[in-house]
């Protein structure tokens, strides 16, 4: 065969199968573009100007990996459809006297073309969209200097090598398939009869057990450790569910004659039974991918949108000063010093609050606290104790504690309902967050135990602690400008790092938190971290969405070809166009929206879990997270519906 003929053959092969080839190439183009854009960011020479470069490039690297892996999955998936449809064509060619060698050469030619189109299209799109992506990244990370896109040869190289490799592997698989088959098998191809699907009870049981166990974990257990396990269980269960449980349910429906032999149900139930066997895996994949899109977008958007709230929570006031080991008689002099520093720097203190507390070393095991008075241990933590009257002085909240009751302020929720300190056991009062903890408390994981005055006394007696040496916290809002506030914080810290000095003889260990001083820096840090997670979340969301759309599209197309014959028969035996249409609609809607419903159910069950994971990394704005999750589900359902309308059109065209 002449080379020009091979090229013509390959071109016509692509054109004749364009309904399947175009989405295949489009998948290639989009994945190449996304991967290439991430790669250019990773290899950008000035990426270090982004604050917290490490977290950004870690995220980008992770994102690139995930996109790479899913590109492999999606491209192999669409190719399997392509191959199935084209087997007949290749069979016919062999019958007409085209040798396997010529077919292989045609395939090789198609491989070169599809690789070229995907890479060229993807990289071109990447180059065009680079500016937009860089703008997006700088906007999200709120970087002031504009990060200009630049051409990174290394990024280009990696993209080309990766995707050429994927396409080569696909080509080799096609070659293997063609070379091991006989022409007549290829011609018959998909016409071999489908066996009646059997109910695989073991899969039904495993599927229900998997989802049940996963859901139970998600609804009852603490996150992180069990999270991945629960996800794996649910994924496994979802596959079993679509493969086996659906068939079992449909077969039971079929057995119920008064239901089954009704005009609408008759064709729908049998059609779905037929479909579930072929598409159980596809539907389960759509479901899982949809859930992944939802989780990714909902969490990343919430994290990013929650930075402001998170920061405000961390800094309830402008200035917070903790002074340690102060005696009762010297306490007023320290307060004077603080007030003087505030006034000297041109500030006026507003909303002043203060309270005294006792800070001790302790070892904590579950809900057992052991106060360490002389030994020093590696696993000890700071443990603060204060009376409910002092607590009220600071927060204005009267806890109304009774003897033997306690309240614990801690970074994340404390799951026990009692706490034992030494010999004494207190029942822990649950109540809403009072934002008592300042940033310092949140970051250093400190515990604040609030007790009644008499309980506090008895603990002090038990451990022989001195009630006259205490810690003192002062909080106030400052009226001054940002510069004046920073000056105030520096003045308080000036004598010696980490000490506050009343005069040359009297000083104490102190800790000053100034909103003006550290807010911006800290916020930048969070924005960089959560911003880059958000940025990658958008990319991955696009990839997962693309995968969902792709699977839906191929499902509709391949079913359209299968159903076209069936519906022409039905028309001949007396089904009107209208009835056919409504049957189709009923059937597709049921098959189509089932995965979406399952995905939404997964998300609803996982909601508590995700919220807790966010809480572990310090995110507390539950209403915002609820809003983001709800919004994501809504938007996704709309997109899904739009995809349905589009692909249903393609389906109708084929069936007609």
């Amino acid at each position: 065969m002449k080379p020009s003929f091979v090229i013509r053959f390959a071109l016509s092969g692509i054109w004749k199968n364009r309904q399947i080839y175009i989405p295949y190439l489009l998948t290639g183009v989009v994945n190449v573009a996304l991967f290439y854009m991430l790669a250019t960011l990773i290899y950008h020479s000035k990426i270090e100007i982004v604050y917290g470069k490490q977290s950004v490039s870690n995220m980008l690297g992770l994102g690139a990996w995930v996109i790479g892996i899913f590109s492999v999955v999606f491209l192999f998936y669409s190719n399997s459809f392509l191959l199935k449809r084209r087997q007949k064509e290749f069979g016919l060619y062999s019958v007409l006297g085209m040798g396997k060698k010529e077919i292989a050469r045609t395939l090789f030619c198609e491989f070169l073309m599809s690789t070229f189109i995907s890479l060229a299209g993807g990289i071109l799109a990447g180059l065009l969209l680079d500016r937009l992506v860089f703008l997006l990244l700088t906007r999200i990370l709120k970087i002031k200097t504009i990060l200009a896109p630049e051409f990174a040869p290394k990024a280009l190289l990696i993209t080309v090598v990766l995707f050429a490799g994927i396409f080569l592997a696909i080509f080799l698989i096609q070659l293997l398939r063609i070379s091991t088959s006989r022409p007549i098998e290829l011609v018959r191809g998909s016409n071999t009869g489908e066996k009646e699907p059997r109910i695989k009870w073991i899969l039904v049981i495993l599927g229900l057990a998997g989802i049940g166990a996963g859901y139970t974990l998600a609804l009852t257990q603490k996150p992180v450790m069990t999270f991945f396990f629960a996800v794996l269980l649910v994924i496994f269960g979802t596959y079993c569910l679509f493969i086996a449980v659906s068939i079992a349910v449909l077969k039971l429906l079929r057995r119920k004659k008064s239901f089954y032999y009704k005009p609408g149900n008759f064709t729908a139930v049998s059609g779905m039974l037929y479909r579930m066997k072929q598409n159980g895996v596809g539907l389960a994949s759509i479901s899982i991918l949809s859930a992944m899109v939802l989780v990714t977008i909902a969490t990343t958007v919430s994290l990013y949108a929650g930075v402001d709230d998170f920061m405000t929570d961390s800094f309830p006031v402008d200035l917070s000063v903790d002074i340690h080991s102060v005696s009762t008689e010297n306490k007023p002099r320290y307060i004077e010093t603080i007030r003087k520093a505030i006034a000297d720097t041109g500030n006026t203190a507003e909303d002043e609050t203060s309270y005294s507390y006792y800070q001790v070393h302790a070892r904590i095991d579950g809900n057992k606290v052991e106060i360490l008075t002389d030994t020093i241990s590696e696993d000890m933590v700071w443990f603060s104790i204060l009376s409910d009257t002092e607590y009220e002085k600071s927060t204005g909240i009267n806890l109304g504690l009774k003897q033997g009751e306690a309240r614990l302020e801690y970074t994340s929720d404390f799951k026990y309902d009692s706490i034992t300190v030494g010999e004494k056991r207190f029942s822990v009062r649950k109540m809403e967050d009072t934002k008592f903890l300042t940033l310092m408390g949140t970051i250093n994981k400190s515990y604040y135990l609030i007790l009644t005055e008499s309980d506090l006394d008895s603990i002090f007696t038990e451990y022989g602690l001195d009630k006259n040496t205490m810690s003192y916290n002062y909080k106030a809002n400052l009226s001054g400008t940002k510069e004046q506030q920073i000056a105030c914080a520096q003045a308080l810290d000036k004598e010696d790092n980490g000490r506050i000095a009343v005069d040359s003889n009297l000083s104490a260990i102190s800790y000053v938190t100034s909103k003006a001083d550290s807010f911006d820096e800290l916020k930048d840090g969070y924005i960089t971290l959560y911003g880059s997670i958000f940025f990658i979340g958008i990319f991955l969301g696009i990839v997962f969405l693309l995968g969902t759309v792709l699977i839906i599209y191929y499902k509709q197309i391949s079913e359209g070809y299968d159903d076209a014959d069936r519906f022409s028969v039905m028309r001949k035996v007396g089904m009107s166009q209208e009835e056919i249409r409504s049957t189709i609609r009923r059937q597709i809607i049921m098959v189509f929206f089932l995965p979406l419903l399952v995905a939404i159910l997964h998300i609803l069950v996982a909601y508590r879990y995700m919220a807790q994971i966010l809480q572990v990394i310090g995110y507390v704005n539950q209403p915002l997270f609820l809003l983001c999750t709800g919004g994501c589900i809504l938007v996704f359902a709309l997109v899904y519906g739009a995809v349905y309308l589009l692909t249903a059109k393609a389906y109708y065209r084929i069936v007609k």
Binding site: S270, Y274, R566, V573, M575, E579
Partner: protein
């Protein structure tokens, strides 16, 4: 009154761009009486399938009219056509047209289910029919599990389930071997003896010689017809063969 009357039927196909007109049927007139078994013969492309599709209301004629039981089928509004088809007509096709998604029983039930019949009634109807067509033991099987002859008998059962006014068959033996063909034709003759009207399109003389009358179509017109009269199957077969030779070699009928 004849069961079916076809008067000056015309069908012209226009290509999509409207430039080429193909006259599939020019002027076809014939009638079928109740209880008759009529075979329509013609070469490929003679317009016989077009004719069947028009009678079956799967397509609309360009001119002329079709009367079933004295009523014009063109007068039936589009939305009632499907109902008309499944209530009044039964179809048997060359390639069986059984659905792979249903077992044989459900395939046979299909027209009745579409009419909204009760499943108890369907069960009552299928039993004697399956007995007669020797398909009782394959009712639970799927189309891909049985032979061509069995498939065609299942298709006949499906066509007869609604007690149609007319059974229409389009090359019913086309995909069968000679043994299965003979069996099926015997079955048709048997059904016809029970007063079932049959209209069959074929180009096999072997199939046509079982009919009570044979119509020949050429170039979209009824060219000749043969009545069985007192002839045996074999005699009719010879007459058909002679006519067929004349028909295909282009001469005039004697």
């Amino acid at each position: 009154m004849p069961l079916l009357e076809v008067n000056q039927l015309k069908k012209t196909y226009v290509t999509r761009l409207g430039s080429v007109k193909v006259e599939a049927l020019k002027n076809v007139t014939f009638s079928v009486d109740e209880g008759e078994y009529v075979a329509i013969m013609g070469e490929s492309g003679s317009g016989k399938t077009t004719l069947l599709n028009l009678v079956a209301t799967l397509d609309r004629p360009t001119g002329g009219e079709i009367l079933l039981e004295g009523k014009s089928v063109s007068a039936i509004p589009e939305k009632n056509l499907a109902k008309f088809r499944r209530d009044r007509l039964g179809f048997v096709f060359q390639d069986f047209n059984l659905l792979d998604t249903f077992n044989i029983r459900d395939n046979i039930y299909l027209p009745l289910v579409l009419s909204g019949a009760n499943h108890k009634e369907m069960e009552a109807r299928i039993e004697p029919l399956a007995e007669k067509l020797h398909i009782t033991d394959i009712l639970k099987k799927y189309p891909y599990e049985i032979s061509g002859g069995q498939k065609q008998r299942a298709a006949v059962a499906r066509a007869l389930m609604n007690h149609p006014a007319m059974l229409m068959a389009d090359e019913p033996t086309g995909a069968l071997d000679s043994k299965a063909s003979d069996q099926l034709l015997k079955l048709f003759a048997e059904i016809n003896r029970e007063k079932q009207t049959i209209l069959m399109v074929t180009h096999s003389a072997r199939a046509a010689c079982r009919a009570s009358r044979v119509l020949f179509i050429r170039d979209g017109e009824v060219y000749h017809q043969l009545y069985r009269g007192q002839m045996t199957d074999d005699e009719l077969y010879h007459r058909i063969s002679e006519t067929w030779t004349v028909l295909t070699t282009g001469g005039e009928a004697t």
